[in-house]
């Protein structure tokens, strides 16, 4: 019996077996699957941070509530949610082979990300002006500041990385090196950053609002 005639349980030929073994998992292309695996791992990272925050907040009496208004965080949420929509417009334009429109909407999304980061840094500067640092704050337990800057900082790092990725992918797409699939994969990451913010806002900001 030749190598080519080898079969598994006498039913599947070698070539069919090879095809099965090399087929993309869940029919998802490798690059997209890699992004999903990254998202699963990263959601565990954020969940770990937020659960640790919940553990400490729950175990600490007289937890500070230093936020007086919701204006800035509401605006940041609106910008990030809107940037998810503009990302979808870019991906749909790319799938319709409208290169100029896709590039424009990618840049608008990146612009929204930059605006979000500026507002975030403004929020940080206000907190720092009030005396909050990574290891100290004037409202009680220093753990508040540590957790606030760590968790929002980790998210800001993801936004910054996302903006760099959006610009890089848009330029390469414009130059013909990337295609609509690459834009869709970058979009997955951007929507994930938005998704994480949906949990950061209530836990870090809204639950610590002074009434």
């Amino acid at each position: 019996m030749s190598q080519a005639d080898l079969s598994i349980h006498g039913q599947v030929s070698r070539s069919e077996a090879t095809e099965i073994m090399t087929a993309p998992t869940f029919s998802v292309p490798a690059k997209k699957m890699a992004m999903w695996l990254f998202i699963i791992a990263d959601s565990a990272t954020f969940a770990g941070c937020l659960v640790a925050y919940g553990f400490i907040r729950n175990a600490t009496p007289n937890w500070p509530r230093p936020f007086h208004g919701i204006g800035n965080v509401a605006l940041m949420t609106f910008i990030l949610l809107t940037s998810s929509l503009t990302m979808l417009v870019a991906v749909r334009a790319a799938q319709a082979a409208d290169k100029a429109k896709a590039f424009l909407w990618m840049m608008i999304t990146a612009g929204a990300g930059i605006l979000f980061a500026i507002l975030h840094i403004r929020e940080w500067m206000r907190m720092i002006d009030e005396g909050a640092t990574l290891f100290h704050n004037p409202w009680g337990t220093p753990l508040f500041s540590s957790l606030f800057f760590s968790i929002t900082g980790l998210h800001l790092l993801h936004v910054t990385g996302g903006v760099v990725a959006l610009i890089a992918v848009a330029i390469r797409y414009q130059g013909g090196r990337y295609n609509a699939d690459d834009l869709e994969i970058t979009g997955l990451y951007w929507h994930f950053v938005d998704l994480v913010w949906m949990f950061v806002v209530p836990l870090i900001y809204l639950l610590n609002l002074s009434h």
Binding site: T25, F26, S27, V28, W36, I39, I40, S43, A44, A47, G48, V51, G54, F55, I56, N58, A59, T60, P61, I70, A74, T77, F78, L81, T82, S84, L85, L88, V89, R92, A96, L188, H191, F192, D194, L195, M198, F199, V201, P202, L203, L206, L207, L209, H211
Partner: protein, 103 residues
């Protein structure tokens, strides 16, 4: 208008509806923040809204609803890991209620 254009418009309309729903849900979280309820009740309500928001973003913006196998793969792994992290709560409650120096 071609069939492709019709599909594209229908897709975009759905995206805009989901976007408006997400904005509305985010608004509800802000309203909950101003309700006269305990921090625990506030936490429960806000988390319920956040989970619905996350579901909408995952299923429609990230198109997880299009692929059944991938959907279960992502949900099972993520939920299992997040549930696994909840082991610390009894100790957190013990620290605030059960130790001699509590309160």
């Amino acid at each position: 208008m071609t069939t492709a254009d019709t599909h594209k418009d229908a897709g975009m309309t759905k995206d805009i509806i989901i976007y408006v729903c997400l904005l509305a849900l985010a608004g509800i979280q802000f309203i909950i923040a101003y309700q006269d309820i305990t921090a625990y009740q506030m936490f429960q309500r806000m988390m319920m809204v956040a989970i619905v928001e996350a579901g909408l973003a995952l299923f429609f913006f990230m198109h997880l609803s299009d692929n059944r196998g991938l959907r279960w793969f992502v949900i099972i792994f993520t939920v299992a890991v997040i549930f696994g992290m909840q082991y610390g709560w009894p100790d957190s409650n013990r620290l605030i209620n059960g130790v001699p120096w509590a309160h």
